[in-house]
C-alpha cells in the first residue's frame, strides 16, 4: 500500500467515527457528542481534500477515467454541502444523514479499485469540469433536501395528528427549518442542475458532435430536470411550502439515485463505470 491509500483509509476511519458519533448523539441525546463527531468529520474532510489534490497531481489527467475518483469527489462534495448548510442554518441535524451517506460513497471509492475507463482526451475541458461540479453539488443539495423532507413529513404528521411528541422527535428542529433546507436546495440546486445538464450537452457536442444520443442516463437526467423545474416553479411562483415540496424533493432525489447507481452500473451507457 502506498501512502495515498493509507491516507484514504485514515479518512475513511475518521468519517466512520464521525458518522457513528452523529448517530450516537441522537440516540443518547447528548449534543456534545455530535460536536466531537463534527470535528472528526472536518479533520477527515481536510485530509480528504489533500488526498484529492495529491491524487490529481500524482496521477494526472488519467484520474478522470477512474470510477473511484468520482465516488471520492461525490463524498467530498456531500461533506462540504453538509458543512455549509449546517453552518448557515445552524442545523446540525443534517449530519445524521450526510455523514453516513458520505461514508458509504467514500467506501465505494476505496474498494472499487478495478474500474477504469479510457476517456477521450477532450474530457479535460472546462465544460466537463462544469458538468461534473455543478451536477454533484446539486445532487448533494438534493440529498439534504430529501432527508430533511422525510423528517419534515414525519414531524408534520405528528403535529397535525396531535400525537405525542416524545423521545427522539422531541429534539428535532422546527418545521420551518426543515423547509428552509428544501428552499436552499431548490433555489441553488436547480440552477446548478441546469448548468450541469447544459454543459454536459455542450461537451457532448464538442466531443461526439451531437448534443443528445438517447443514452439512458441522458433520458433520466431530462426527467429529473423536468421534475426539478416543476418544484422550482411551484416554490418560487405558487408559494409551495412544507409537505408538497418535501415529497417532490424525495422523489427527485430517489430518481437521481436510481439514475446514478442503477443506470451507471447495469445499463449500456457512456456514463458507465464498467470497463
Amino acid at each position: 500500500m502506498n501512502w495515498t491509500e493509507w491516507m484514504e483509509l485514515f479518512v475513511l476511519a475518521l468519517y466512520f467515527c464521525g458518522a457513528v458519533l452523529h448517530i450516537a448523539s441522537v440516540l443518547v441525546r447528548k449534543p456534545a457528542i455530535q460536536q466531537t463527531g463534527r470535528i472528526l468529520i472536518i479533520i477527515g474532510f481536510g485530509l480528504h481534500s489533500l488526498d484529492i489534490v495529491m491524487t490529481m497531481i500524482g496521477v494526472g489527467s488519467q484520474i478522470f477515467g477512474q470510477g473511484p475518483f468520482y465516488f471520492s469527489l461525490l463524498a467530498w462534495t456531500l461533506i462540504i454541502v453538509y458543512l455549509v448548510l449546517s453552518w448557515h442554518l445552524r442545523m446540525h441535524f443534517l449530519g445524521l444523514t450526510a455523514t453516513p451517506m458520505a461514508l458509504i460513497i467514500f467506501s465505494f471509492a476505496t474498494t472499487l479499485n478495478t474500474v477504469e475507463v479510457t476517456l477521450p482526451r477532450s474530457l479535460l475541458g472546462l465544460w466537463f469540469g462544469l458538468h461534473i461540479g455543478s451536477l454533484f453539488l446539486s445532487i448533494c443539495l438534493l440529498a439534504m433536501a430529501a432527508s430533511s423532507g422525510a423528517v419534515y413529513l414525519f414531524l408534520e404528521n405528528k403535529i397535525k395528528g396531535k400525537s405525542k411528541i416524545t423521545g427522539l422527535s422531541r429534539d428535532l428542529p422546527s418545521l420551518a427549518l426543515f423547509d428552509k433546507v428544501n428552499a436552499w436546495a431548490v433555489n441553488i440546486g436547480f440552477p446548478l442542475f441546469t448548468i450541469g445538464l447544459l454543459s454536459g450537452f455542450l461537451w457532448a457536442h464538442l466531443t461526439w458532435e451531437r448534443f443528445f444520443s438517447w443514452d439512458p442516463k441522458e433520458l433520466a437526467a431530462i426527467i429529473v430536470w423536468l421534475l426539478f423545474a416543476l418544484l422550482f416553479h411551484q416554490r418560487l411562483v405558487n408559494g409551495w411550502r412544507g409537505r408538497k415540496p418535501a415529497k417532490l424533493a424525495i422523489w427527485i432525489f430517489g430518481l437521481s439515485l436510481v439514475s446514478m447507481l442503477g443506470i451507471n452500473f447495469f445499463l449500456e451507457t457512456h456514463h458507465s463505470f464498467q470497463p
Binding site: 403535529i159 397535525k160 396531535k162 416524545t166 418545521l175 420551518a176 405558487n238 409551495w240 411550502r241 412544507g242
Partner: protein
C-alpha cells in the same frame, strides 16, 4: 452533644390556603425575635415563607429536640397557640430534614412539579439569613448543597422540561412549527382572560407583533394598550388575519367564526406560509376541517389539555430519577456532618501528613539510589519525615481541641480546618463563600 438539624413546616400538602395565610411569616428575624439567644441551643436558623409553604430550619449542638423551640417561636410570631399549629405541620430531623430541603429546592415537593420559582424563593430566604447573621457552618453548607442539588436535578433529569400549562403548551407547539418566534405575528380573536394569558406568554417568547380583534372594539383597544398590541376592527378580521402566523381564538360565539374556505383564501395570500390556530373557545370558534389544509395547524382546548397531561405524567416519571439524586446527595451530606466531630478530623489530618511524608520519602529514596540501601539511612529518613509531619500538625491540633471545648466555635474551626487542608477532596469552588464576604464569627453571639 450532637450536631442537630430540625425542620418544621407546613405546605400545600398539609394545610389549606387559610391556614397557610394565617401562619405565613412575612418578615422573620430569628435572632431579634428570640429564636437564637444566648441560652437557646439553636445557633442557626432559616425561614422560608411562600404562598405554598412555610418552613423553618434550625441547627445547633444539643442533646435536646429543637422542634418545640421552633414551634414556640412560630406561634408567638403569629399570635396563636401551639395546638392550632400542630395538626398542620410536619417535622423532619437531621438527615430527613436535609433530604426534605433538597427535595424542596429541586421543586419535587411543589404543587406544580418542577416549577422554577421555589429555588429563587429559597435563595432569597438564604440571602436574608446571611444578612441577618443566622446562617452558620451547617446552614451555609446545607443551602449551598441544596442549590447545587437543584441544579443537578434540573440538568440531569427532565423534571422541569415540557410545558404544564395550556398557554405554555401552545407556545411550545408554536416553536415546534416556526422555530424562532421573533419574526412572527400573533393575533387574538376575542379578548378574554385566557387569550390575554396566552398572549403574554407568546410575547415573552419573543413574538414580534400582536394584533387584537374583538367584537367590542373598545375592549380590544384596552387590551391592546395593556400588552402593547394593535387593535383591529372585528369586521376586518380576515384582511388582517393574512398577516398573522399564530391565531388565538377565544370568542363567546355560539357558531363557527373561522371557516375552512376563509382560510383557503388567506393561505393563497400568504403564499403558503404556515398558520397555527389555537382555539381555546368553548364552543369552538374554528372549523376542525381547517387542520386538513396544507401548512395549517389547529389545536383546540382538548388537544392542548392532552399535551399538558402527557407532559405532567412525564415529569412525574422523571421525579423518580430526581429522588435518587436527592438520596445520593443526602448521603454525601451525612458524611460531611459526621466529619464535623473532632476525632475524624484529627485522624484525617494526621493521615494526610503521613501520606505526604510517605510519598516524599519514596521519592527521596529513589533519588538517593545505592545509598538508600543502607537500612540505617532509610530508617533515619523515615523517622525524620514522620516526626516532622506530626510536629507540624501538633499545634493546629492542639488549637482545634481547645476550640472544640467552646460550644459553637468547634464545628466552625473544624470546618475551616477541613477546607484549609482540603480534607474532603472537594474541587475548588470559584464562587465566594458568603462567610468570606463579611468577616467575623456570625454564628455566635457573646453570651
Amino acid at each position: 452533644m450532637k450536631q442537630r438539624i430540625c425542620l418544621l413546616g407546613l405546605s400545600h400538602r398539609t394545610a389549606g390556603i387559610e391556614v397557610r395565610e394565617r401562619f405565613a411569616l412575612a418578615d422573620p428575624h430569628p435572632r431579634e425575635q428570640g429564636l437564637i439567644t444566648g441560652h437557646s441551643p439553636v445557633r442557626e436558623a432559616l425561614v422560608l415563607s411562600t404562598c405554598n409553604r412555610v418552613e423553618i430550619v434550625a441547627a445547633g449542638r444539643t442533646d435536646k429536640d429543637l422542634s418545640p423551640l421552633i414551634r414556640d417561636y412560630w406561634v408567638r410570631l403569629c399570635g396563636a397557640q401551639p395546638d392550632e399549629l400542630i395538626p398542620y405541620t410536619y417535622e423532619h430531623h437531621d438527615l430527613e430534614a436535609v433530604a426534605h430541603l433538597f427535595s424542596v429546592a429541586s421543586s419535587l415537593d411543589s404543587m406544580i412539579l418542577g416549577e422554577p420559582q421555589i429555588l429563587g424563593q429559597l435563595k432569597q430566604s438564604y440571602r436574608r439569613s446571611v444578612e441577618q447573621g443566622t446562617a452558620g457552618v451547617v446552614l451555609n453548607r446545607l443551602l449551598h448543597k441544596a442549590f447545587s442539588v437543584a441544579k443537578r436535578v434540573r440538568t440531569e433529569t427532565r423534571v422541569a422540561s415540557n410545558a404544564v400549562s395550556i398557554s405554555f403548551a401552545a407556545v411550545e407547539l408554536a416553536k415546534r412549527i416556526f422555530g424562532n418566534l421573533e419574526n412572527q405575528t400573533a393575533m387574538l380573536v376575542g379578548a378574554g382572560e385566557m387569550a390575554e394569558l396566552a398572549a403574554t406568554h407568546l410575547l415573552s417568547a419573543g413574538v414580534k407583533r400582536m394584533l387584537i380583534a374583538n367584537r367590542t372594539h373598545s375592549r380590544g383597544c384596552e387590551l391592546a394598550e395593556r400588552i402593547r398590541g394593535q387593535a383591529v376592527p372585528f369586521s376586518e378580521l380576515f384582511q388582517h388575519m393574512a398577516e398573522a402566523d399564530i391565531i388565538i381564538s377565544s370568542t363567546g360565539a355560539t357558531q363557527t367564526v373561522i371557516r375552512k374556505r376563509d382560510i383557503q383564501g388567506i393561505m393563497k395570500k400568504r403564499r403558503g406560509r404556515s398558520m397555527f390556530f389555537i382555539d381555546i373557545a368553548v364552543p369552538r370558534d374554528v372549523d376542525p376541517d381547517v387542520n386538513a389544509l396544507d401548512n395549517v395547524f389547529l389545536y383546540d382546548i382538548d388537544d392542548l389539555k392532552e399535551v399538558v397531561e402527557e407532559n405532567l405524567s412525564q415529569r412525574k416519571s422523571e421525579a423518580n430519577k430526581a429522588r435518587v439524586i436527592v438520596a445520593e446527595e443526602t448521603d454525601k451530606f451525612a458524611a460531611w456532618m459526621r466529619s464535623l466531630d473532632l476525632k475524624p478530623t484529627i485522624l484525617d489530618l494526621l493521615s494526610k501528613g503521613e501520606n505526604l511524608g510517605r510519598k516524599e520519602l519514596k521519592k527521596t529514596l529513589r533519588r538517593l539510589g545505592p545509598k538508600a540501601e543502607d537500612p540505617e539511612v532509610a530508617q533515619a529518613l523515615e523517622v525524620l519525615v514522620f516526626s516532622l509531619a506530626h510536629k507540624l500538625y501538633h499545634q493546629p491540633l492542639d488549637f482545634l481541641k481547645r476550640r472544640a471545648q467552646e460550644e459553637d466555635a468547634g464545628p466552625r474551626y473544624i470546618d475551616i480546618t477541613r477546607r484549609m487542608f482540603n480534607l474532603d477532596n472537594d474541587p475548588p469552588t470559584p464562587d465566594a463563600h458568603p462567610e468570606r464576604k463579611t468577616p467575623g464569627c456570625r454564628g455566635r453571639k457573646p453570651s
